[in-house]
Amino acid sequence: MAGSEVKVLGTWASPFALRVHIALGIKSVKYEWVEENLEAKSQLLLESNPINKQVPVLIHHHKPICESLAILQYIDEAWPSAPSILPSDPYHRAVARFWAAYIDHKWFTWLKGVASAEGAEAKKAALDQVREGLVVVEEAFGKCSKGKDFFSGDRIGYLDIVLGCFLGWLYVAEKRNDVKLLDEEKMPGLAAWAIKFCLDGAVKNVMPDKDELLDYANMVFQAMAMAKAKLNAPPNY
């Protein structure tokens, strides 16, 4: 059965797992999705990714592949027929990989920093950093897209997936902090790109509903705040 040959271990809220959903959709590959509970990880997950014990994991012909960027490239290579995910030219592939590294190592770290920043000043600084990062990526978008809809041109590809998976969490940060981060005035290219990305055939049916994500985030942050308050509370004699 073709479907059971390809399995994805992920969670509905994970932007990294979303990357795998989208990439398999682009290639029209049938797969089985296993929704993991990160509080009680499955034996399969622990065996498939013993080092990091994280989602997503792609399992193909019973062999696991971990790390979302490695998975994206694997999908492109294991299912080489069109449409392709990475550009064909080595230089453009290098440019795409460079920006993927920037988005994952720098920009996403800043986005996470918004949640962990304490106090109004630190929050503002963290939000400013996220916005500044988007301005840098806006310039990259201009160069990569060359006037077309997506980083990859006419169709979504590697860099679109790498950044696009964070749009839901970007919305969460905007709503929780009552700010605009993806600003149509400062980043017109990215603002237009975001709308088109979410409407793409390989994205729209797998992208989590952003308000559901917001509810989930509110619940998680509330639980974290309560746990912290308990730790800091004076003992109850």
Binding site: E67, L69, A70, Q73, Y74, E77, R93, A94, F98, V136
Partner: protein
């Protein structure tokens, strides 16, 4: 062939060394531009405006930055002596291990190096865990790439030189030949391979540099 290949590097950067090795393995002729990090050249800042860091490879006027990205580029632009395997699953594993090296191993070893006393003891735990994973991965292999040096060997190659230096500076054994025999053997094999051996930066200069870095970090932490 009319190809222009330039590498911007510093004398000590382990990330730049990866590129030197790759270019030597593929027998690619190139020009080196040594950068002074405290006084970066306009050319470097133009080629890598986002990070302003080395290494940067300039190929026929087009810059590529980020050492692992550069390694993949070199492998794709020059087909001889391939660095990555052919099989997609093996390629994915190679990319995984390179990322593990940069994300986890490097940081955990650095932690041991910049700490002292009890904190250093505690930092040894995750460092040893990470090194044990590498030891496991070497089972039945001479190099991470198999019989010959490959992508993962280049990505982890800094271990073969830096570990010995750091051990000398802090007076601590990190890669014990008894506890990590395969990793120990790999460090020797890799470190002594002709292409690799010729390119290690001057040892005494490295000792001075890293001693100073450790002292400065410890001083800053105790303020």
């Amino acid at each position: 062939m009319g190809e222009e290949v330039k590498l911007f590097r510093t004398w000590s950067s382990p990330f730049a060394l990866r590129i030197v090795w790759a270019l030597r393995i593929k027998a690619i002729e190139y020009e080196t531009v040594f950068e002074d990090i405290s006084n970066k050249s306009p050319s470097l800042l133009q080629c890598n405006p986002v990070h302003g860091k080395v290494p940067v490879l300039l190929h026929n006027g087009r810059p590529i930055a980020e050492s692992l990205v550069i390694l993949e580029y070199i492998d794709e632009a020059w087909k001889q002596a391939p660095l990555l395997p052919v099989d997609p699953h093996e390629r994915a594993m190679a990319r995984f291990w390179a990322k593990f090296g940069d994300d986890k191993v490097l940081g955990s070893i650095w932690s041991v190096f910049i700490k002292q006393g009890k904190e250093q003891e505690e930092a040894m735990v995750p460092a040893m865990e990470n090194l044990k994973f590498l030891e496991e991965e070497l089972k039945g292999k001479k190099f991470f790439g198999g019989d010959t040096i490959g992508f993962v060997d280049l990505a982890l190659g800094w271990l073969a030189n830096l570990i010995g230096l750091l051990e000398e500076i802090v007076g601590l054994k990190v890669v014990d030949g008894e506890k990590l025999p395969l990793l120990s053997a790999w460090m020797q094999e890799f470190g002594d391979a002709p292409i690799i051996k010729d390119n290690w930066p001057a040892r005494d200069r490295m000792i001075l540099k890293f001693q100073a870095l450790r002292d400065a970090t410890i001083a800053a932490a105790s303020k």
